[in-house]
Amino acid sequence: MKLVVAIVRPDKLNDVLEALFRAEVRGLTITRVQGHGGEMDRVETYRGTTVKMELSEKVRLEIGVSDHFVEPTVGAILAAGRTGTVGDGKIFVLPVEKVYRIRTGEQDQAAVTPVEEVLPA
């Protein structure tokens, strides 16, 4: 199993989510974050105060996947998150030691395989 951590542009998030769902990657967590990469600083002025904004708004996705899902996951993010200008973000793939599903206690492979929720009748 791997943990895919991706930092993407907020305005590309919907495209990325759409691509991930299309690749049948359904289990994920997102966080709004701020970060700094190679992007040009934005200069903003508030009355007499001029500031360089060094941190840009980004969205961080965390996706736990089984090994054979790493490539489609990364591929979806690469294709959908790209604008071609500096600041598109990064994807990190990390090894994962153990995964538990809290509801059932299932582990590893079983824990990262989504199950269809059955609605009570």
Partner: protein
């Protein structure tokens, strides 16, 4: 000259001026947070640019002596506009009151082109629009022009302000084209309380807009004032019931919209119809706008904040219903269709049609010409980033983490923390 009239018109002028920032909040709440300042600025800047255009030339074109088609230039730069009486109030006050109408009409158009128009192009657009489109129509209806001469009833600006702005909005949305995300992703209001605040302040200001259009503190003003309370109340009730029927939930954005639609609809009718008629007018006017909003969102027409449905349709309903519900026993001027004068309805319909054609053609011409001089739309990349940063260099909800002071008159002597923080993040500061 009458002191009571003057006092009421001074207050009314301030009330109508407040409607423009109120509109900014109404619109500003409906856009995404990255465009909140840009949207508010579209209204706020009209307070400067359109106001001065009005003083320099607009007032003269609208209310100066001239032909039935256009006022002359004899009142340009307020020549001959002094403290002498115009009716029962000082001429200068009449000019200022009318200025507030020109300002809000131009600002209304902005709702159709939010989140994508270059700000400099917008400033040029509304300034020229107020002179080329607003002033002539204001002249036709109120300034001694041919529509007013024919007996078209428009108490406070159903044609001049709302249909005019609605049509200009439609044309502007078509010429600029949709936002890059329109119909591809959900674009949600970022601050619905702002929108409700704006709607509330618009209602408050509208008492000056309609009540003041009597140009006196008299019974006509009282009728317009009360109708301004009743019609939106009826619209709000009908809208809420429609919401409940359709989705089972009464929405807040719907309520804010309903208030504006009701206010728009009663604008041409305010001093001409009975209070009970105003309630009918407000209630009926909810229907076309309600269904137009639902339909519009499924089309490619990115009239982003539904200026056409709220102001274009609401104004049209109001102007036509004025021709049906006007009552001489209340207004002393003319009866409508329902009270035995079908001709009034035809005159109203003609005024509506003429306004639609004139505003549509001139707005299209103006925007096309302007597009040869300056690009109207921001680059796609800037749209993604948001217009607050790309057009104004500010953020509505800025956070100070990572904000590095680079210049300040007051802390220039203590630059030490600047270097430390910047150094920790900049490549030349040791970062690989």
């Amino acid at each position: 000259m009458n002191a009571a009239d003057t006092a009421w018109m001074l207050v009314s002028t301030a009330l109508v001026l407040l409607m423009t920032p109120a509109l900014g909040f109404f619109y500003g709440g409906l856009v995404r947070s990255k465009n909140a300042l840009n949207t508010l600025m579209m209204s706020i800047s009209a307070l400067g640019f359109v106001c001065l255009a009005w003083v320099v030339l607009g007032y003269s074109l609208a209310f100066g002596p001239g032909t039935p088609w256009l006022g002359g230039v004899s009142r340009a730069f307020l020549q001959g506009v002094g403290l002498e009486p115009q009716g029962t109030i000082p001429h200068l006050l009449f000019m200022a009151y009318q200025a507030t109408f020109a300002i809000i009409t131009a600002a209304l158009v902005s709702g159709a082109i939010v989140e994508r128009m270059r700000f400099s192009a917008y400033l040029a657009f509304i300034t020229l629009w107020s002179l080329l489109v607003y002033s002539p129509i204001a002249h036709w209806v109120w300034g001694g022009g041919w529509l007013g001469g024919m007996g078209a009833l428009d108490f406070a600006g159903g044609t001049v302000v709302h249909i005019n702005a609605g049509v200009a909005a439609l044309v502007a949305a078509l010429i600029l084209g949709p936002r890059k995300d329109y119909a591809r992703q959900a674009i949600l209001p970022h601050n619905v309380p702002f929108t409700l605040l704006g709607a509330g302040l618009l209602w408050f200001g509208w008492f000056g807009f309609n009540g003041g259009s009597a140009l006196a503190a008299n019974s006509s003003a009282a009728l317009a004032f009360v109708n301004t309370m009743l019609a939106p109340a009826a619209t709000l009730c009908v809208w809420t019931l429609l919401d409940l029927r359709r989705t089972g939930k009464a929405t807040a954005v719907g309520a804010a919209t309903a208030i504006v639609v009701g206010l728009v609809a009663v604008t041409p009718a305010a001093g001409f119809v009975s209070p009970m008629s105003a309630i009918v007018l407000g209630g009926v006017s909810a229907l076309p706008s309600y269904f137009a909003l639902l339909w519009r969102a499924r089309t490619r027409l990115d009239d982003s904040l539904d200026v056409v449905a709220a102001h274009g349709l609401g104004g049209t309903m109001g102007a036509l219903l004025t021709g049906i519900l006007a009552q001489k026993s209340w207004n002393g001027t003319a009866d409508g269709l329902l009270f035995g004068n079908p001709k009034q309805f035809l005159i109203q319909a003609l005024a509506v049609a003429v306004t639609i054609v004139f505003s549509g053609v001139l707005t299209a011409g103006l925007l096309k010409l302007l597009s040869f001089v300056v690009p109207l739309k921001v680059a796609t990349r800037e749209e993604g980033l948001g217009l607050d940063v790309s057009q104004h260099g500010e953020e509505a909800y800025a956070r100070d983490e990572g904000a590095i002071l680079i210049l300040s008159e007051f802390t220039a002597e203590s630059p030490a923390p600047v270097g430390v923080l910047a150094g920790s993040l900049k490549p030349e500061g040791g970062r690989a």
